[in-house]
Symmetry: C2
Subunit: 400 residues, 2 copies
């Protein structure tokens, strides 16, 4: 397959399938915001509104408007979600709830700092689309609230007994590495620089393990390995997604060493977490090979695979490393054979180890309008850049 044909696959699926799916099925005309619990055909099977997914869809349609085409329909849908979020999403201290009912009444307390991360991302992108200062202010206020809470993100909702086993988690520093670029236009340059430096250090020094070349999901606050269920946990998708965040930051500062380390780490994680029996990338693993606590450990999830493809394509674009292109072809083939639903649109999210559909749906509590369209956009644009830079598919592939 030529590079151009790959490019077309990602672009066409985004513009002719995935974006129309959410435009058609997700808008709640009655109470505002979006439905995300959509069955195979796009029918609503549950009406709860999860702040992660509300924010991510605002971000997604704002991003498409900013980067693909100034379609009023896209901006309207983003503002439709933003209105609902502004009206219902936060408590009196500006913390974002985790979920609301259809009408917007809070269901779950603001225990989850990632609600705030995705809110900052959404309103930062919507500000870019509109120049409406109110949106920018929400993004900035939320970002400062995240920084204020970052050392104790769960606060009073934490069930950990203090100090027995103080752990820190990979997800927040990882997300901040992406979020800071999303809202860079709204922040002081010094804050941007320090957030980036701290983020890269956390991802590539603290959580990265030099002996294995893998990234742990949790470590002791002093940086040491914790030989516990949490400490042994690998979340390959997180590590793989974080590597394209690293590449974006490294490209910005022209840091070739960081680019190469991100590429090497992408390959290491894939080597470790690829299911050689059935194909696909495992969801959770234990770095010592013990049984993980997560019963869903062997399942194949949509976001893990599309995020991996982004890292592989960016890695190839930035380095020409043949391993990236080889792995891209392998992960691409698995992904397109299993996740997209050509008949009804969008992608299935959850497969069992064997690659069969585990849940017959296109959205739920955790899957909404985000990883698929963001990934398709990123891959489309990266493939265009690859084509421009390399003109043809690497020769070596056919020899290996």
């Amino acid at each position: 397959m030529s590079i151009l044909k790959y490019t077309n696959v990602y672009r066409d699926n985004l513009l002719n399938d995935v974006v129309p799916f959410w435009l058609t099925h997700s808008k709640d005309e009655k109470f505002g915001g979006y439905f995300t619990c959509l069955d195979t055909k796009g029918n609503v099977y549950d009406t709860d509104k999860f702040i992660w997914l509300q924010c991510r869809q605002v971000w997604c349609f704002s991003m498409l408007y900013n980067k693909v085409e100034k379609k009023p329909q896209w901006l309207d849908l983003a503002i439709h979600g933003a209105d609902f979020l502004i009206k219902n999403g936060r408590d009196a201290e500006g913390n974002w709830y985790f979920s609301l009912n259809q009408k917007g009444v809070p269901l779950t307390q603001p225990f989850n700092i990632f609600s705030d991360c995705f809110a900052a991302m959404a309103f930062g992108q919507l500000y870019q689309a509109t120049n409406n200062k109110a949106y920018g202010d929400i993004a900035v206020d939320t970002f400062h609230n995240i920084l204020r809470r970052q050392n104790d993100p769960k606060g009073k909702y934490s069930k950990a007994f203090p100090d027995t086993r103080p752990l820190k988690s990979f997800a927040l520093p990882m997300i901040l590495c992406n979020l800071v670029l999303e809202i860079e236009h709204l922040l002081e340059p010094a804050l941007v620089a320090s957030t980036i430096a701290n983020g890269i250090n956390a991802v590539m020094n603290d959580f990265y393990q030099p002996d294995s070349g893998l990234i742990l999901e949790n470590i002791n606050v002093d940086g040491a390995f914790s030989d516990s269920f949490e400490g042994r946990l690998l979340n390959p998708g997180h590590g793989l997604e974080a590597m394209w965040f690293m590449m974006d930051l490294a490209k910005r500062s022209n840091d070739q060493q960081l680019i190469q380390k991100a590429v090497d780490t992408t390959i290491n994680i894939l080597d470790y977490s690829w299911d050689t029996k059935y194909g696909g990338i495992f969801y959770f693993m234990d770095i010592k090979g013990h049984p993980p606590q997560q019963l869903e450990w062997d399942q194949k999830l949509w976001w893990v695979h599309i995020e991996t493809i982004i890292s592989l394509l960016k890695g190839y674009l930035l380095t020409g490393d043949i391993r990236c292109w080889q792995w891209f072809e392998k992960v691409h083939t698995y992904t397109w054979a299993h996740f997209p639903d050509a008949e009804n649109g969008e992608w299935f999210g959850y497969l069992n180890r064997q690659g069969e559909i585990l849940l017959p749906m296109k959205g739920g509590k955790w899957k909404g309008c985000f990883h698929v369209p963001r990934g398709l956009y990123q891959c489309w644009k990266t493939l265009e850049a690859i084509e421009k830079k390399y003109t043809k598919i690497p020769q070596a592939v056919n020899n290996l």
Copy 2:
């Protein structure tokens, strides 16, 4: 297979395999308590101590001592766990922590009321074995603490926003129906009577759904159906386990109507949750057939299957209902073909939908020394009673 042969299977597996497995592998000689994270061969792969499982093992070896044989080795192992729990298990208010590290230092706050339930059960059974008043006092104090907390079991650790969707859960009233008989000898008869009456009413009226004959996992506090992920959730194993608790209570008061309803409900749940493609009982389902949130929904778990066998055998003993024996043979065949590990002892706990081993281990955070030995004991004794009452396997089976 004759009834006697079935009886021997359950007794022999308990006494010659499962009990020796825990006696050999689980005792922490250095810091007290038990290891429960044991791999396929019984090697310790994690040293955390989960209060549910510590308590359940104390209960188990006390029960064996009380009901099977006065073996000092069994009582010693129970007291070994009890000493560790007394020293380390509770906060200043007498609430039981959720987990401790190997040395007994708290890791997880007492957010989970089932820790307290299993503590009351453990110390009630150990009191019966020893007549040591200190153990009885702990059981009674803990039981009163549970009753005090039962309307707000999560307390300050709840993430639910107050009053938007006030739900109550099946698990606590279900467990209380069993616990109250476990510690009946320590309680005022009036409290026993009211706890039983409330428990039966909750299980068989509030959570039981007359139109489907199934039992919901969560309902509105006013008893209404909640059309939400939580409200639509079925946990077939919970319903099936609760039915033998109902039968024990019904037998005690000679309530034939309740016995028949428990038998009918057992059959209803099995009809609904049996996997006709691969065999076994699903772990979670949605009563409206929507995708459940639980990614592990299609897995086959050890406790679901052994608890179901108990209900089927008790149902057959009490009613002679042929459907119970037929289902017993079917669930027995699946269970013994998949869960027990004849080579290394004990049972695997977690199978994928296809019946393959999902986690190569005999114990972890949730599986310890409890459901398998309790179930084997219950089945052994119930099969003995069936043999005495019916003398031979129901004729009709071979005709159907």
